[in-house]
């Protein structure tokens, strides 16, 4: 961990976290933020479900990176394409007809010898970083369940494969991935029981099972604090039947939904505060925690991604 290093000064960021916490949104926002600050940035979607296209409103992404905003390129991972590229560039194997069966058998081998698919994914990303095609590569990585396998793949392969080109390849990948000045993981969590628990577990596993350094934890969807000092008491008095009645006659309309709504908002915020405290106390002390507010918006697209980028920028002191 190297907390003194600015998050975006690294060259490779893996954004991960439990399903649905906002990995894609945060990855896109970080990439947008970096691009806005002048860095040539590549955003890589691993799961190829088109989520990046939604948050950036960019149209579909493919294996070949496409510039979707000034200085921001986006691509989606495809292991078969990655293998093709690898064979061509690294081994100077020309595009053969035989690549068909090779790719198909790869599919089978990958099911039984996992690590092969992962290494093609991580390998392609690491290669982009090594070749310095971009200043920063941000990866919308897999959820907690799969990401350790992915990040540990070079090491696993390194253990399994004793000789051959792949072993040589994994060596430089490992160097790059384990350098805290170059690579970092960003774990996204929402302040809820399971995402927090998974985050704490993931932080441990990343430490034990991979050599990829942890860069930051993003606490996403933080609900707003409604009341300042003394105001909660005012609100509590407002909640009494007599005051509700009085308010209803002043505004001449139904006030219960509005008061109950505020009450629910307060309780939701409180139940989440507990989980934020747990994160703060149980994570390594020097690990940066970045807070991103819950955005109450109708639709999630480029506008929301910009708001998230702004919020992250503020947290990073930009």
């Amino acid at each position: 961990m190297s907390p003194d290093l600015d998050l975006l000064e690294r060259r490779l960021l893996f954004v991960t976290g439990k399903g649905g916490v906002g990995k894609t949104s945060v990855a896109a926002a970080l990439a947008l933020l970096a691009a806005g600050r002048g860095q040539r940035t590549l955003l890589v979607e691993i799961d190829a479900r088109g989520a990046i296209a939604d948050v950036l409103e960019s149209g579909p992404t493919a294996f070949d990176p496409r510039e979707v905003a000034p200085r921001l390129w986006a691509m989606s991972m495809d292991t078969e394409e990655s293998l093709r590229e690898y064979l061509k560039l690294q081994l100077r194997v020309p595009m053969l007809a035989r690549i068909g069966p090779l790719a198909r058998s790869l599919d089978f081998v990958a099911t039984a010898a996992p690590g092969v698919k992962e290494i093609l994914t991580v390998g392609k990303i690491a290669w982009e970083v090594r070749e310095r095609h971009y200043d920063l590569v941000v990866v919308d990585a897999s959820a907690t369940g799969h990401v350790v396998g992915q990040l540990a793949a070079p090491e696993a392969i390194n253990e399994l494969v004793q000789v051959g080109r792949v072993r040589e390849q994994t060596r430089w990948m490992l160097d790059l991935l384990s350098d805290p000045m170059v690579t970092g993981t960003v774990v996204v969590a929402t302040p809820e029981e399971m995402p927090v628990t998974e985050t704490l577990e993931l932080v441990d596993r990343l430490e034990v099972e991979t050599r990829v350094p942890l860069a930051a934890v993003v606490v996403n969807k933080v609900l707003p604090e409604l009341f300042g000092r003394g105001e909660q008491e005012v609100f509590d008095r407002l909640c009494t039947p007599a005051r509700r009645h009085q308010l209803a006659s002043v505004v001449a309309g139904p006030v219960d939904p509005v008061i109950d709504g505020a009450d629910l908002a307060v309780r939701l915020r409180r139940s989440r505060a507990e989980h934020i405290t747990r994160l703060r106390t149980e994570l390594p002390r020097d690990l940066p925690l970045l807070y991103v507010p819950y955005l109450f918006t109708r639709a999630h697209g480029m506008r929301t991604t910009r708001s998230l980028a702004e919020a992250l920028g503020a947290e990073l002191g930009y």
């Binding site: 089978f108 407002l238 139904p254 219960d256 139940s271």
Partner: protein, 400 residues
Amino acid sequence: MSAGGLEQLCAAREIVVTCGSGGVGKTTTAAALGAMAASQLGGKVLVLTVDPARRLATALGLERFGNVETQVPPALFAEAGVEARGELWAAMLDTKQSWDDLVRAHAPDAATRDAILANPLYRNITAKFVQSHDYIAMERLHEIHRSGRYDLIVVDTPPTRNAIDFLEAPERMADFFSSRLLRWLITPYRSRLVNAASKPFYTMADRILGSQFLADIAEFFVLFQTMYDGFVERAQAVSRTIADRRTSFVVVSTLEDAPVREAEFFMQALVDRELHLGALVLNKVLPAWFADPAAAEVAGRLVRDADEVAGALTHVPLPVAGEAASGASGHLEPLGERAQVGRVLREIGQSFDDYRIVATREREQAAVLARHPELVVSVPHLDHDVCDLPGLVDLGRALW
């Protein structure tokens, strides 16, 4: 569907599978259904779960037991103020343990068994990678169901990248083991006779991966081939269990874009495969009154005219001397200073507006899913995590 709920479904089926995108509440729903079925319907109910929240696991007495089926102490129901007519059991899925058991059951002899368990590739599959999770969940389910020990098994599914993955897992496993490609791949290792057709592949694979790795792969497959018949048969039996009329699926979703899209996709996939879709659970739904237009008016007024309204509220005629002491009706405890009251009013108006936007979006999402209205059950967004039996029963009532 408030009247029907999931009671009927749980009474009529032997296996109920909860599925949906990551984090939507599959595990919680499965546990809540199990708790309701055990307490209301009676009989022996098993919740087969994957990574439950730690507090939930502890609450169910699961932490120490892992793969082993364990009964939730009946005393917990009593403490929760519920009279349990039946038994609730729970088990957590331990992928590695389950794979080992599977190998032990299918290996033709002790030597093969040990060789497989010791093969580096096998160790990697089970220890480091999770692709095998889907299959093993289905496999374990099949095994338990076949044992006939339970009246109802509620199955929680792992957060897969693609919810469809685990439906296809048994098929994929069977295809894999019966594929000609696989046999072709291991032939040279067996005969040491590389024929002209596959030679280029091996030369290239050798250069990339090294021959030791290839040998490990080949050894692994050769060993696994010995379990071929057992495996394929088993995978087919698992597929049959899933398709059986006694099995039903409950799709869980929150009302956010991605989970809704996934839920739609998944429901379609169930239909395409002629599997039984039992219900669609909309979880963490905001209260309907957030969409009340008259309330939105009030909220708007509070934001616009907060100070004026605050003035009206705080401007209460001072109680006549003696009236306060006697506690006469009409007296209200002072609300607070006018400016402060104004801030509170503006804030609650604003907050209502914020949540109304989300609630409106949720209603639109719900409308998208309304094509199957007879199947929809809504569960409110609770203001606390569901991590003990009373919490589960609470949530369960909304499902029932």
